[in-house]
């Protein structure tokens, strides 16, 4: 088996992780226009919840994932009610507020659980073979989780009354309200949903990552660049940009050092945004 198929497979696994971690941001940044600098910390909350449910309470991993989404989502809804809703359309204040939230969350987890790394056991062990290569079976779980999550949010946004309300508010908030849509309740739900997706990502990726209080920081920039390249408010666009970014990093990494591959991809992202500032898959707006 040549090197290319291996790199493509690894790219697929990386893309699934990236996509899972970015979906919440498509909702919160893309649809609600809030730059949430605490995005990574909601992923961290999900990872810790998964650790607690699976390693401490010894419940099945499925419960850990569901619990992580629920905890992160409820926490997100509370944060929206208490903090975020006061700062809509006020960019600098939102940045400061969400930055403060990210620091507070990290410190609380440091105090509560120490800085020690937590380990979440792989719920699915062993590998599967393609040709002569073996990949961890759990990678398939991540791919399936990412595909399911994208399918779920697409259905939710494009096929349900809730999704239509969110999209109506995004297009014309005042008119949506004049038709009887409770915009502030919808905001709370969508922010909570975005955080629940971040929590879900934290739980699903926890067994293959290291869980510690400051882990969130590393997720923020990756998710942000993926969402921006994808066209900010597009789930499918973000899926495509996750694939593009991860596959090119992985494939290039097969021919040169990882560091050079990352630099080339980063330059590529900058070039894309230079020539298509609203991302590869932005709807043309008039």
């Amino acid at each position: 088996m040549g090197i290319l198929p291996i790199q493509l497979m690894n790219g697929l696994f990386a893309a699934s992780t990236l996509l899972l971690c970015s979906l919440g941001m498509v909702i919160i940044f893309g649809n609600m226009n809030v730059v949430n600098l605490a995005h990574g910390e909601f992923i961290m909350v999900g990872a810790y919840t998964a650790w607690f449910i699976s390693a401490v309470a010894r419940l099945p991993f499925v419960a850990a994932v569901a619990g992580a989404a629920l905890v992160a989502g409820l926490f997100g809804a509370v944060v929206e009610r208490v903090v975020i809703k006061r700062f809509y359309q006020r960019f600098e204040e939102t940045l400061l507020a969400t930055y403060a939230i990210s620091i507070i969350m990290t410190q609380i987890f440091r105090l509560g659980f120490s800085s020690m790394k937590k380990i979440v056991e792989l719920p699915v062990r062993g590998g599967f073979e393609i040709g002569s290569m073996t990949f961890p079976k759990y990678n398939l779980v991540i791919v399936a989780a990412a595909a399911t999550a994208v399918g779920f949010v697409c259905l939710l946004f494009y096929k349900t009354p809730f999704g239509r309300r969110v999209r109506a508010i995004r297009q014309n908030r005042n008119m949506a309200m004049c038709l009887g849509i409770n915009a502030s309740a919808t905001d709370t739900l969508s922010f909570g949903l975005g955080c629940a997706l971040a929590g879900l990502a934290g739980a699903v990726t926890a067994p293959v990552k290291i869980v510690f209080p400051a882990m969130g920081a590393s997720y923020l920039m990756d998710s942000f660049s993926t969402v921006v390249v994808g066209g900010v408010d597009s789930f499918i666009g973000t899926a495509a940009s996750s694939a593009l970014i991860s596959e090119s990093t992985s494939v290039l990494g097969g021919f040169m050092s990882e560091v050079y591959a990352q630099i080339i991809v980063l330059v590529g992202i900058i070039l894309i945004l230079r020539f298509r500032p609203s991302g590869l898959f932005a709807k043309e707006r008039r």
């Binding site: 239509r164 999209r167 109506a168 297009q171 014309n172 005042n174 008119m175 949506a176 309200m177 004049c178 038709l179 009887g180 849509i181 409770n182 915009a183 502030s184 709807k283 008039r286």
Partner: protein
Amino acid sequence: MTVNHNSGSVLSAVGVSAGYAAGRVLHGISFEVRAGDVIALIGRNGVGKTTLLRCIMGLIKPDCGRIEFLGAPLAGPASAIASSGIAYVPQGRDIFSDFTVRENLFMGAQRAKKGVAAERFDSVLEYFPALRAHLDRRGGVLSGGQQQQLAIGRALMGAPKLLLLDEPTEGIQPNIVAHISDILGRVHESLGLPIIIVEQNLKFAMGRANRFLCMQKGSIAACGDIGELSEDVIAKYLRV
């Protein structure tokens, strides 16, 4: 002084003042809408007609004064006011341009059950058959006249008890204006729906309204039965 002596009050405003951060626009507005009324709200550009409708709709809060709708004070955000039965067709129509015509219409029926909304959808299409051919097209690609019909149809989807229309004939071809006037007449007659129409097109306004309110610099300068809308009033408050 008017047609409907015995009919109840639908909307009443007492001493309403409101404005924007830049300054007060409405100064102590008082008027009443009674059941069966079609009120033409007229006045030159910039006198505050749109601001008054936005204020009724809850998009801006009055600094002082009171507005009552069907006997209860109007309060809360626009969504609550819409839910209490006031529908608004804003100047510029504000169609959701990414939604199809069908989706735009159903957006107007937030509080209705599925079956009820479907029935209203059918009757709205009877009023505006021109929309039928465009149901699956995006609202943003429609012509101005089609968008206006869509905006009125969307408002009717909520089965409102009061309809606010802001310059429905602005930038629309004369034959469509006649059609819209026609439809409004039919809607008013069959549903008995009270309407406030802001209008520059006096012919249109006088054809539909039974009463008029004439604004000048944020106040009501004249009002009365449409028959009392004299050449003097028109010359004084409307001619540029």
